[in-house]
Amino acid sequence: MQATSTRFKQNAREALDDPQLQQALTKMKAGFVERRARARADLPEFDALRDQARDIKNHTIEHLDLYLERFEANVTANGGHVHWARNAAEARERIQEICRSVGARTVTKGKSMISEEIALNDALEEDGLEVVETDLGEYIIQLRREAPSHIIAPAIHVLKEQVADDFRLHHVQFDKARPLNEPRELISEARQVLRRKYLESDVGITGANFLIAETGTSVIVTNEGNGDLTQTLPKIHVVIASLEKVVPTLDDAAAILRVLARSATGQEFTAYTTFSTGPRREGDPDGPEAYHVILLDNGRSAMLGTEFQDMLRCIRCGACMNHCPVYGAVGGHAYGWVYPGPMGAVLTPSFIGVDQGGQLPNASTFCGRCESVCPMHIPLPKMMRHYRAREYEQGLAPPATRFGLDIWGFVATKPRLYRLATRLAVGLLGRLGRARGRLAKLPLADGWTRHRDLPAPEGRTFQDRWDAMGGAR
């Protein structure tokens, strides 16, 4: 997928002016936040489990080479194949080779963000394959030729009326006058259409939420059961997973699963959590005949040992974006690449470079909610600050920002001047906003005031108040 992250500002402006998107985002926000809060309240150990989950991943990352070795050995011992891929192109080639080797015509896919990351569908379609996304949300956006706008709810930006229009356009086999007003009707129709695809498919491709070193197992978590049909029915099951998905043991996977669903959808547990180990055994009446795992690096190993290493703990639950005021205002597409929200603001520059994704770490108010809800305690704001610094150092920040920061830097390093300037500004703003306590418009701050008010300062500067309180005691 062609990244448009450098155009974040413009993307965001368009998103704010899109009434349908704004309607969809309003529906989204309350749901996720409330459900997570309820799930957390129902499990007194939730916060202790988060600490434990963080520790498990830290231990794993510190021994990543050794656990990957064991994972590989155990996949092979169970009759599966592991393919290592340094980058997106290598991963695509391995999968294309596998599909060609069996003369595949139809490929079904479970939801996988990594498949988006490596732009797999385009590559397979170029090979003449029919590629069918089976997760309902992914299927909807595939029909619309759009990218996912949320990592666990890819079609969250689409209203049901739009889905109905898409279905009428693409499912020409059905009566034109059929009712498609209710979600139930849309889901039944999708179920019927996709059933055929599962049964016809030659290769099933899924992602993995975890890889288990102890047993050589890949794990997928779904609510629909689409991933299971995708991987059970075709002759070949291909798993595409990145290095950091590995955990040591079944117990470690269970421990992290306890915080995953609760953080993601607010469920206690997802409907289907499936542990796959190798191909069909002798005597098994069903299941794939071959099992392949593509182990993708694509920028992960380069994060090891840097200030971004903690990001490798991410379990892609989406809690950070569900609670992010910026994501809530502009949605996922504005971020311009595969991973939106706070996690995307860190991953995008890591994977496609600061020049491409360096704008995203600016899409934050540093309110800290992402870090406070992250089940893996990832210090997202701190990492975004690192990237802001890099962006500035590399001279990639836009001229206006540089000019502003340079002035601020000049003033802030001269205490007397700083006091005078802030006192003047605060006094002025305070007078301007006296009536409502808020400012609806402000020269030079149009970007802020266009879609929300700026709270007016009340009276004096921090430094003046500090002095009045007796200063540094």
Partner: protein, 230 residues
Amino acid sequence: MSGARDQIMGQVRRALGRAEGTDDARARDAVDARLKEPPRGLIPARVRGREAEELGRLFMEKALAANCTCATVDSLEAVPDAIAEYLASENLPATVRTGDHPDLAAIPFDRRPVLTVSRGPSDGGDAVSLSTAFVGAAETGTLALVSGPGTPTTLNFLPETEIVLLRRSRIVGPYEDIWTHLRARNAEAGSMPRAVNLITGPSRTGDIEQKIELGAHGPLRLHILILDDL
């Protein structure tokens, strides 16, 4: 391709300070120890040190909360009647696709001739399936089913109605106890089953405007028959 592996591993090792030739015995020992005797994590109080009766009650409560229905039977002989009644109450056809796991094979279906029973994996044409659970975890009302000659995986996903038989003696508390049973099974079988399905309620989706609807791709109904064998 081995080039890719070596390069990735090399970069990981360097970043972790374990470049070629450094002594990584301590790290290896830590990894071996964890894999050999997996440490048990924090077990939630709701299932810590509970008696079988309490676990049975919690299992049902959680399964119902996950949109399952439950019934109890006191013997395998009672299963055909229980299934026939359930299917009639839901207005479903009296046909069942099942496997030949010993428990499933021992059910005397001939006592209830109105039920049409066939055996083997599903090809998508079956309305109702009957499987048997490996264990059930009370923590969240979760069934664990394993693939094998007598327990086809397709029965868990293709039919619109799934019935699962669960022995009360196999209801455990936390997920970790599923692994205890699984590791014992694996030691005997020599390897993991191809698939272990942890199932908590019927299939669902919230992909259309976040409204939860059941029966997305997998079963619309999940009915659990708890066999009182304690």
